[in-house]
């Protein structure tokens, strides 16, 4: 259980204000988890800038009761992953849109929604809802995730019993400039089962999303998401994953734009020979206002012979800020651990900044762990090489940005999905020449 923060006036006020504004849903099967989350929340309090874990990112806009407004962005991009044969579920400002969604029946998968299923007693979901989130509160408090468990009104509950015939695609539209949305997803991948989850879109003016993913023995979970082009949106997302014996968890996130994004991933590897990969590519241009992107990752190895990889790349310009906090914790008995972490930023000018805090904490003696973090500019020699072949400076720069991001994109196993992501990157770069 989380350690209560030392009480202080700022935190107390933030906590009071926020908790005072909560209208706790009754929530059927999730009711007990919600009450417990409220209690935990009252104990730990809301995060404040002074917290070590929020040193590089000011949580104020994610905490306060009223969501700051966010201009709705009207793009003309075709739907990302639109050519993929998949099952789509659409949420607009957090509200499920049945007319825009596909029929969710899919071989190998049971799909329901929190808002509906809450009235029924779905045993598997009851045993997951708020459970991984609670585990993820040790050793570090994650109050915004507890807040989500307490308050979330909807989300999807996916139980994967076989090899899902098609990916499930959650589409998050944003139409109201003041929408303040909390979604909570629970995904259980049964032994030997496999699912690809796609997520796209900004979702809201302010989004707080929690995804709990339990991958059981030999299960596989692939995740590719893109967080929408809205410039002034804010988001805090948490993925809590538990990975069992010989299971695989792989997640990739593309972020372009957004005033404030904090993506946390808390991954617990509990079974031998399991694999967990988490990757991200973020592109930020401060020319439209603030761009602040924070990836915060905590991977715990608690089993033998497991592999984890963190690959995070950020491309920053015009005063954009990138943050990476990544930790690998290898417990005493987690021998033969192979842990890898790389975080890199490409700064396209002198105004942008990258703040990184890579950490290793290792208690086992037979492990292979490495971490690296770099901040660099465009390689002038490579730029000249491309230009000497007739490629204009800006196009050459775009190629080098793609080159820089390639390691992160490679973490997407599916080639068609990776190609879609690359096409988005290329479009972003083409719009932001110079």
């Amino acid at each position: 259980m989380a350690v209560p923060h030392k009480s202080d006036a700022t935190r107390n006020k933030a906590t009071q204000d926020r908790l005072g504004a909560i209208d706790l849903p009754e929530g059927g099967f999730s009711g007990a988890a919600r009450v417990s989350a409220m209690k935990r929340l009252a104990e730990m309090g809301m995060p404040v800038r002074r917290d070590e874990y929020w040193r590089y990112t000011d949580p104020a806009d994610l905490v306060r009761a009223e969501a700051p407004e966010a201009v709705v962005f009207h793009g003309t991009d075709p739907q990302l992953f639109g050519q993929v044969d998949r099952v789509t579920l659409v949420f607009t400002d957090g509200a499920f849109d049945p007319d825009a969604s596909d029929d969710p029946s899919l071989a190998g998968v049971e799909i329901s929604r929190l808002a509906v299923a809450d009235k029924a007693d779905i045993h598997w979901a009851r045993d997951l809802y708020g459970v991984l989130e609670t585990r993820g509160q040790t050793p570090i408090n994650r109050p915004l995730a507890a807040l989500n468990t307490a308050v979330a009104t909807d989300g999807v509950l996916i139980r994967v019993t076989g090899r899902a015939a098609r990916p499930v695609h959650l589409i998050y539209n944003h139409q109201s400039p003041t929408s303040d949305v909390m979604l909570h997803h629970c995904i259980k991948v049964e032994p030997g089962a496999e699912l690809t989850l796609l997520e796209t879109g900004p979702a809201a003016a302010r989004l707080n999303m929690v995804t709990e993913v339990d991958v059981l023995e030999g299960g596989r979970f692939h995740h590719v998401r893109a967080q929408g082009r809205d410039h002034s949106r804010r988001a805090v997302t948490h993925i809590f994953a538990r990975v069992a014996k010989a299971a695989q968890f792989k997640s990739f996130t593309l972020t372009v734009n957004g005033v404030l994004t904090r993506n946390e991933a808390v991954i617990e590897i509990i079974g031998d020979d399991a694999v967990a990969h988490i990757a991200g590519a973020a592109l930020g241009d401060g020319v439209d206002g603030v761009f602040h992107h924070d990836d915060t990752v905590f991977i715990t190895h608690d089993a033998v012979g497991c592999e984890s990889r963190q690959v995070f790349k950020k491309v920053l310009k015009n005063g954009a800020t990138g943050v990476f906090q990544g930790k690998i914790l290898v417990k005493k008995d987690a021998q033969k651990t192979d842990g890898y972490q790389i975080s890199q930023a490409l700064l396209l000018d002198d105004d942008s900044q990258f703040l990184a805090k890579p950490e290793l904490e290792i208690y086992a003696d037979d492990v292979k762990c490495s971490h690296g973090s770099t901040t660099g500019a465009i390689d002038e020699t490579a730029l000249f090489y491309l230009r000497s072949r007739g490629i204009e400076r800006e196009d050459a720069t775009a190629l080098l940005v793609l080159s820089f991001l390639a390691d992160a994109i490679e973490e997407i196993d599916d080639e068609a999905l990776a190609a879609d992501v690359v096409a988005r990157l290329e479009a972003w770069l083409a719009r932001r020449k110079g």
Partner: protein
């Protein structure tokens, strides 16, 4: 075609003169070779001609078909028909060789007001050119120069040259690191491009390449100047006696 007159160049960052008055005139359709001791300024000349940052031109001129090269951006020089095969080709992870070639080709076409090449025509062209240089399909798919052996990188430079069909080709030690067979391939690649309109400036340390690519004129560069020019026999002389006698002559 290429006219270099009294070209003087220093490093941008420090007050160090590298080229101290280079004169060179290469007429259309001819092949010139430059030899010279390490550090004499051969690569610097090739970089300054193609527009690399880091150098300051303190005097003289360089024109391509009468156009002032030194005023142009590197990409403009390429579009004008200049090509440099690098002494050390650059690795670009994550960018496929094919993407790179097509982007370059289309960029030059665009700059010249020509339409883009179709995907089909491009594939046909690249396959044909690659085959002649014995570059296999797998190498074409790989990221630019990544994991290529030294010799493969040099052949890849010649592939780019063959695709882009420049009029003025500068080859900076393209022969170094090549085995005998690869040298033959590269020479064949160059000879295939030889023609009335196209000129070459071949920088090399060895006579061997010049056996295959018969130069019209050989220049000796030392300490930032061309100190002697002559026929192919000059290269043979260097091969036999080194640079000592030539340098002594000048002093």
């Amino acid at each position: 075609m290429l006219e270099i007159k009294n070209l003087q160049v220093k490093l941008e960052e420090e007050d160090k003169a590298i080229l101290k008055g280079v004169d060179l005139s290469i007429e259309a359709g001819s092949v010139h070779a430059i030899m010279g001791p390490n550090g004499s300024g051969k690569s610097t000349l090739s970089y300054v001609l193609s527009g690399r940052d880091g150098y300051t031109v303190t005097g003289g001129s360089a024109t391509l078909d009468g156009e002032d090269l030194l005023e142009m951006e590197p990409e403009e020089r390429a579009a004008a028909g200049l090509f440099l095969a690098f002494q050390y080709p650059v690795e670009i992870p994550g960018v496929g060789n094919m993407t790179f070639l097509r982007t370059a080709l289309n960029a030059q076409r665009k700059a010249r007001g020509e339409p883009e090449i179709s995907a089909g025509d491009f594939l046909k062209l690249v396959r044909e050119k690659a085959k002649a240089l014995q570059i296999d399909a797998e190498m074409l798919k790989r990221p630019v120069n990544v994991g290529f052996s030294g010799g493969e990188k040099k052949r890849n430079e010649i592939l780019q040259m063959a695709m882009l069909e420049p009029r003025m080709c500068v080859l900076d030690e393209t022969d170094s690191g090549l085995d005998v067979d690869a040298m033959r391939l590269v020479a064949d690649g160059v000879n295939a491009l030889r023609g009335a309109g196209r000129s070459f400036l071949v920088i090399t340390h060895y006579q061997r390449l010049l056996d295959h690519i018969k130069p019209d004129i050989v220049h000796i560069m030392a300490d930032g100047r061309i100190i002697k020019s002559g026929g192919p026999e000059l290269a043979l002389e260097v091969e036999r006696n080194g640079y000592a006698d030539l340098l002594a002559e000048v002093v």
